[in-house]
Symmetry: C2
Subunit: 298 residues, 2 copies
C-alpha cells in the first residue's frame, strides 16, 4: 500500500493507472498534475485524483509513488522539474514507449535521485487518447516492461514489478536497448506502415471510393493509423535507428513479393505467403512466452 | 423463395450462405457438392445441406439458385462442369475476391448460359476457413458487391441484389474492372503487406523474442496475415496488375517516411502522420457511403 501517488500527466495512461491503483486498494491518496488546468479539474471531478498540483514538484511532495505519464517530448523537462522534489525512498516510473531516450534524459536530470527511477512501458493503450477514455482495466492481462538501471536497488525494482502484477500485468525485464529493438519491430514500424498504407489509399484520386468499400480486414490492419500523431512523431524520432533497421528488413521482404508478382510466379508467391500465414495462425498475444526467452522475466 | 439451392463448395463462404438462406426462410432445399466427400458428409451431418451431389452438374440439376463457392483456382473448371446443367431461369453467383478473371472464365465456359451468371463478392470472411467456422450471420451488415454483365437481364440482377439484402448485406454494383481496382487497394495489397510485415519480424534472429512482446496493435495489424495461403496466392496472382499499381503508391509513401526518418526531420514525420491519423480516425467501415459515389448503389 502506497501513501500517496503523485501523478504527472492525467491522460489515458496516467488516469487509467490512478483508477487501477485505487480499484486495487493500493493507494491512500492521489495528487495529480497536468499541463492543462482543465484536465486537472476534470480528473478531480471524475474522482481520478483527490487533489490537484500546480507543478510536477508539487505532485512529488509527500508522494512515495510517482508516475510520469506525459508525452515523450515533455519527459525530459518533467524529470528536471521533478528531480529536487522526489522524496526519500519514493518509486518513480514512466510509461514511455521508448526507453533509451528516457534513460538518457533521466541520467541528465535526476542526479542523485536516479536510483529512484525504474523505467516502465505498459504494452497497453487505445487509439483514443485522453482522460475521457481512461479505464481501471487498461493494464489487466497486458505485458509491462521494466528496464531497470544498474543504480536501482533490487528491492525497488521488485516493488515496481509487484505493483504492476497487482494491477494484472505480466512483468518482463529488458535492457533499454533490447526494449527499443523489440518495439521497433512489433510496434513502431507497424505504426509507420499503417500510416503509410492508409495515406497511400486515401490520397489517390479514387481514395474515397476505395475507403467506402473497405471491410473488416482493412479496418483492423489500419486501426493503429488512428493513433495520436504527436505521440508517434516523438516515438519514431526517438527510436529512429532501430525503426530504420526494421524498415530494411520489411522492405527486403516486400521486394521479394514485388518480384514474385512481377514475374507472375504463383509458386514463389505461395512460398512467400505460406510461412507467415502459418506463423501468424500459431501466434497468440502474451502466450506462454510473454517475456522473451533471453530476458529476465518474473 | 427459391425451390433449391445448388451449392458448389461447402467451405466457410458456401456453408455460411446456406445457413443464412435457411435461417431467412428463403429456400426449400439445399443440395451440396464439395471436392472432398468428407466435407459433403460433414455438411449433411451439420444440417447445412439436405442432400449431397457427386458433381457440380448434379448440384445444378433442379436448382433455381446456384452458388459457386470454390477456391479461385477451381472456378474455371467448376463453371465448365456446371454449364450444361444450369436450369432455365436459374440464378448463378460466385463469391470470388477478384472479378475480371472470373468474368473471363465465365465468358469462356458458360456459352449460352452466361446470362444466368451474376458475379458477386461478399466483403466478409474469417481467417479460419472451412465448414467448421461457417455461421448464418457471416454476411449480415457486410457489403456485397455485384459486378453484373451486359448479358444479365435486369430482373436477374435485381433478384440477386434482393437475395443478399434479405441476408442483411448492403449491396453495391461495380464493373469488374472497378471492383478489382478498389479491392487491390483495400484488401489485396493490405494482405500482401501484412504477410511481408509478419515474415520480416518473425524471420529475424530475434524474431521469437519480438513476437513474444507484441501487443494488441501488432495483433490487429497482422490479423489478415493468418489468411489461407492458397486463396491469397490465387487472388494476388489474378489481380497482379492492380496490386502492383497499389504497391507503387504504397512504396512511394513509405519512401517519404524513410526520408523523414533518415533526416531526423520530426516536423516532416508529423506532417506525414497527421493526415492519415485524422483520416483513419474519421473513417468508419460501411458508413453512409458504403457504395462508392461513382457506383450504382442500391
Amino acid at each position: 500500500m502506497f501513501q500517496q501517488l503523485g501523478l504527472i500527466g492525467c491522460g489515458l495512461m496516467g488516469a487509467s493507472f490512478a483508477l487501477a491503483l485505487r480499484e486495487a486498494g493500493l493507494v491512500r491518496r492521489i495528487v495529480g498534475h497536468s499541463a492543462s488546468p482543465a484536465t486537472v479539474q476534470k480528473a478531480l471531478a471524475r474522482g481520478v485524483i483527490d487533489a490537484g498540483a500546480a507543478s510536477p514538484a508539487e505532485a512529488a511532495a509527500g508522494s512515495d509513488l510517482l508516475l510520469l505519464a506525459v508525452p515523450v517530448a515533455a519527459t525530459a523537462s518533467s524529470l528536471a522539474a521533478l528531480a529536487p522534489a522526489i522524496e526519500d525512498g519514493a518509486l518513480l516510473m514512466d510509461v514511455g514507449s521508448t526507453k533509451r531516450d528516457v534513460v538518457a534524459a533521466a541520467r541528465r536530470s535526476l542526479g542523485p535521485r536516479l536510483a529512484h527511477f525504474v523505467p516502465a512501458h505498459p504494452i497497453a493503450g487505445k487509439e483514443k487518447a485522453g482522460l475521457d477514455h481512461a479505464e481501471a482495466g487498461l493494464y489487466r492481462e497486458r505485458t509491462l516492461i521494466l528496464t531497470p538501471l544498474p543504480e536501482n536497488p533490487p528491492a525497488r525494482v521488485e516493488a515496481a514489478a509487484a505493483l504492476w502484477r497487482a494491477l494484472g500485468s505480466r512483468v518482463c525485464q529488458l535492457s533499454p536497448e533490447a526494449h527499443d529493438a523489440h518495439f521497433a519491430a512489433v510496434s513502431h514500424l507497424p505504426h509507420l506502415i499503417a500510416f503509410a498504407a492508409f495515406q497511400a489509399v486515401a490520397a489517390q484520386p479514387d481514395g474515397a471510393a476505395h475507403l467506402a468499400l473497405a471491410g473488416p480486414g482493412f479496418r483492423d490492419f489500419t486501426r493503429i493509423a488512428a493513433s495520436d500523431p504527436a505521440v508517434w512523431r516523438d516515438i519514431l524520432a526517438a527510436n529512429r535507428d532501430e525503426v530504420l533497421r526494421q524498415l530494411d528488413f520489411f522492405e527486403a521482404e516486400l521486394a521479394r513479393h514485388r518480384q514474385a508478382l512481377q514475374a507472375g510466379d504463383a509458386a514463389a508467391l505461395e512460398a512467400l505467403i505460406r510461412t507467415p500465414a502459418a506463423g501468424r495462425s500459431a501466434w497468440t498475444m502474451g502466450g506462454p512466452a510473454a517475456c522473451p526467452p533471453a530476458a529476465a522475466g518474473d
